[in-house]
């Protein structure tokens, strides 16, 4: 099978996008004392960590940051070919009454975010939840989930996959479309 990959956003552009997302969060929230960032494991956490760092540097505030794993809440357990192996949760604060910004790298069917919302609500009752994604794939959502903050909207063909790579794990920051 031929796998081709196409670079859609290189490192320099990705940096601008991240800075814009951080600026939007700062603009909307200002004071982050009641706002927390929670990344969806595993890939959303890397994005959330970057944004967390950017916002802390720019606002000189300490912002609570967590990682949420939604594996046990997914609706495709026992239905896929691959077994679902969980990641760990790191939320060492209460989300009760907090304004939560849920962060994931790519919004595709919306099912991961649905599972993430269920997982999140088992930790308490946040006052408000917002969704931030770096890439929104257009016209692919299977359930009514729409992000509040979007890095890039991308039109894709069926069979294509959007992959965000990070310097921490893959050696460089950029976004690819992989088609088979």
């Amino acid at each position: 099978m031929n796998t081709t990959r196409r670079l859609i956003i290189p490192a320099a552009q990705l940096r601008i996008t991240l800075e814009r997302l951080a600026a939007q969060l700062l603009e909307r929230h200002g004071d982050f004392s009641n706002t927390v960032l929670i990344g969806l494991q595993p890939r959303g956490s890397l994005l959330a960590a970057r944004l967390h760092q950017l916002i802390q540097e720019q606002s000189h505030q300490t912002i609570l940051f967590g990682k949420l794993d939604a594996t046990f809440y997914r609706d495709d357990f026992r239905r896929g070919k691959e077994p679902l192996i969980p990641n760990s949760n790191h939320i060492d604060f209460s989300i009760e009454g907090k304004h939560v910004i849920l962060v994931d790298d790519v919004l595709y069917t919306g099912r991961t975010v649905r599972a993430g919302l269920d997982a999140l609500l088992d930790f308490g009752r946040p006052e408000k939840v917002e969704l931030l994604v770096l890439v929104e794939r257009l016209y692919t959502q299977e359930i009514p989930i729409h992000p509040d903050y979007v890095g890039r909207k991308v039109n894709t063909m069926p069979g294509e996959k959007v992959v965000v790579s990070w310097s921490e794990t893959e050696g460089e920051d950029n976004i690819w479309i992989i088609s088979q």
Partner: protein
């Protein structure tokens, strides 16, 4: 390392070291879940589990039932007393009838060694062994090793003494297999009558002196004297057993090493283990019980996956 290599959980012998590590890392996640205010996840919401117990049990049965419920599975319980088993129904017939009501997994305890393996060959559902005679009790061994790993951060290189009735104990056998796979050294200690012949062929040290065992080990797993199996006399009296093999505070102080004390329960207090040891900071007996739920959740989750 992404899926467990076996279809059933019948024996530690069937598991690879990677399988055991996978069960442990999954149990770490479930331990975090059961310490939350909302201790439940929806993973097994479309699965029905039958707990079939042909032998008495409190801890194991409760632990499995809690594990199943915290994974949102539907649970049916069956115990042999008061069932059609007393009317002469065979094991396979009993279980096939239960499975005809659309059950996906079976957790079984039975007095005959090999009963779970036999069942797994004859039915479609996944089988978890909750103890088969004096053969194996895999989830107990996993939770014991998991508790040791939690206390020391590793299992490899540690010395574990299993003290007491090794002959009738499925816990001892599963523990030996599990600890050896993870790289620990094992010693068994008990009166000659309660040690199986040729146990040394499993690669364990053998001792008949509890002082020697305690002076050697980092962890002492003290097994219950199975009073209900003592129609044949294996030692002259309980008092004599306690004097020769009972673990108490004075003995531990005499040895003067910081040994971790474990017991799979139920404890015969004042027989194999004294209260001043069982309830001390050295004991991780209640951690074992807590970890039991997390380990069983991991086993159920990985088999259903």
């Amino acid at each position: 390392m992404s899926a467990i290599s076996t279809k059933h959980l019948i024996s530690i012998k069937d598991l690879s070291t990677e399988d055991i590590e996978l069960i442990f890392s999954t149990a770490d996640n479930f331990k975090e879940v059961i310490n939350r205010p909302i201790k439940k996840v929806p993973s097994l919401r479309d699965i029905t589990v039958a707990n079939i117990f042909f032998e008495n049990s409190t801890r194991t049965r409760l632990s499995f039932e809690l594990a199943e419920k915290r994974l949102s599975a539907d649970v049916v319980n069956f115990s042999a007393s008061g069932s059609s088993v007393s009317k002469g129904e065979t094991l396979v017939d009993t279980v096939k009838n239960i499975l005809a009501m659309k059950v996906d997994m079976v957790v079984m305890r039975h007095s005959s060694p090999g009963a779970c393996a036999f069942l797994a060959r004859n039915i479609d559902a996944k089988v978890i062994n909750a103890g088969d005679g004096a053969h194996e009790h895999p989830t107990q061994a996993l939770l014991d090793a998991f508790s040791i790993r939690e206390k020391y951060g590793k299992v490899a290189g540690l010395k574990v003494a299993i003290i007491g009735d090794i002959l009738h104990s499925r816990v001892a056998l599963s523990n030996i297999f599990c600890l050896q796979k993870l790289g620990a050294e094992v010693m068994v200690c008990g009166p000659t009558t309660l040690l199986p012949h040729h146990i040394a062929s499993l690669g364990v040290h053998v001792s008949h002196d509890v002082r020697e065992a305690l002076a050697w080990c980092d962890v002492a797993n003290i097994l219950r004297i199975q009073l209900e199996r003592q129609q044949t006399r294996y030692f002259p009296s309980l008092r004599e057993y306690t004097l020769r093999f009972g673990v108490n505070r004075a003995l531990l102080e005499e040895i003067g090493r910081d040994i971790t004390i474990m017991h799979p329960g139920p404890i015969n207090r004042g027989v194999e283990l004294d209260s001043d040891v069982a309830d001390s900071g050295q004991s991780i007996i209640l951690n074992q019980v807590e970890n039991g739920v997390a380990i069983r959740m991991a086993g159920l989750y990985l088999l259903a996956n």
